[in-house]
Amino acid sequence: MTFGAWAELIASGLITGGVYALVALGLNLQYGLMRILNIAHGEFLMLGAFLTWWAQTSLGISPLVILPVSFALLMALGLAIHRLTFRRLARTSGDLDVFEARGLMVSFGLMFLVQNLAQWLWGGELRGYDWLAEPVAIGDARFAANKLLLLGLALLISAALIVVLRTTLLGKGVRALMQSPTGAQLVGIDTTRLHPLMFGVGLGLSGVAGCLLSTAYTISPAMGEPYTVTALIVITLGGFGSMAGALVGGLGLGVIEAIGMHFTNPSLKTLLSYGIFIAVLLWRPNGLFARR
């Protein structure tokens, strides 16, 4: 294979990987910080996608405008959900294990609720629209403009998150909470405000991912689950809670899949992903990049 062909292959893998990373960010925040494994993550992504689709096809509003709207709406939804459910769970659960297990079940319930609500509202059919799909030539290779935008925004948002977490006081508080919940509270970090906020941000991020995804792929109420699974795989690879890990993990997964698909066939791709997933969980449960 020529260098150009390799470059194109890897680039397309990076683009898909960018999607993966973007989708994983929100989930990572929620699990890394609060040990809430939000299985319904993909469903909120789907809501963001439908919102964008509806705005674009019925009102003619560009997805770029809807992006922040999607974030805000889903963040508000996240705050509400946290207040109604997880807050009570945190108070009534004996220990962290119990809280995790119950959190998992609650997100199960949310998954059923949200997916079927969407199906009730919009019907089960496939939808799609055309936006910024013109090909852009970079050297010899051609990529769709919306996919490039996706990659760009994924990198931008991940970078922004990492910077916020590292430098701002809020971010340091979040990281402290991730490292040691009790210790953080001892030094006065306010869990009761940070938890709902971060849960909301997590959901908002999934809304952003959904918005961007709807520009490039067809959408349906059932689209969420595969993304949840991918997000799970990515955060496992990168280590729970690590934003940089999720970014690298996502991009890496995309590239591995692209190369795998090229040399074997796409049917093996899923096997490959799950195989890697299980291998990592078994041998390096703290993620590929953990220092422990």
Binding site: R35, L37, T85, R88, L89, T92, D97, E100, A101, R102, L104, M105, V106, F108, G109, L110, M111, F112, L113, V114, Q115, N116, L117, Q119, W120, E225, V229, L232, I233, T236, S267, L268, T270, L271, Y274, G275, F277, I278, L281, L282, P285
Partner: protein, 297 residues
Amino acid sequence: MRRDLVILFVLAGAALALPFVASDFVVSLALSCLMYAALASSWSTFCGSTRYLSLATAAFFGIGAYASALTLGELPWLAAIALGAAIAAAVAVVMGAAVLHLRGTYFAVLTFGMTELIRHSIAYFEKQVTGTVGRVLTVVPERDTVYLTVLGLAFAAVLAAILIRRSRFGLAMAGIGADEQRAETLGVDTRRVKIAGFAFTAAFAGAVGAAMSVRWTYIDPATVFSPFIGFQTVLIALIGGAATLWGPLLAAVVFSLLAETLRLSMPQVYMMSLGLLLILSVLYLPGGLASIRWRRP
């Protein structure tokens, strides 16, 4: 214990009489109830007491389904069911040995991943090696045979639950659920107990899968390894009360009836209410439905 056994026999007797007095439809409905009763009861016997949430039910169900699809031509009915159970249990032992040292969400997520891995592996194998996608079941036993088999499995699952709870094995599992490290220091071979429990749930799921596959005439990986089977089992067991004896059975019946009535009038509402019910019960009734009736000191 005697009271539990009496209740079990009475219920079994009523279920036994059903095919002779009720319409096709009611029998079908009962079959669904019994299927989830068997799955949820056996699931909670292990997962409820040890608090290791397994999402692998669909994997074992599917293995059983394929076992019967592939062998029903040559083997008699009960042998095919037994084979399904045996293979599922064997897979569970291997899976368990690799996976059961991880707790909580890791375990749940891993079992889910393994289910998907098994499903995609079988799909790939079928496609590349045998050149098919699914399997058509050509030899199909009478509907009543299937009903009685599933009834038998449900009966066995609840009976086993009753007996295991009072045995050393059951106490060991409960101990693991309460505090695993302490159980180890007290001399429980946690590894063996866990693997045995996991294999127990797998055997039942495999047998049920083997029995139900004949109802669908054509099976393919997507249908029999559907994660929904696993989710619904877990949901029913949790809402019923995973650590209780009668909870899963109660919830299985309630849900099958609820599903049917709501489906005929408002199908989406059924699924939404399922989700809502789960959330509410986790928040306000963590012990499950059965904990309302039973006041265990």
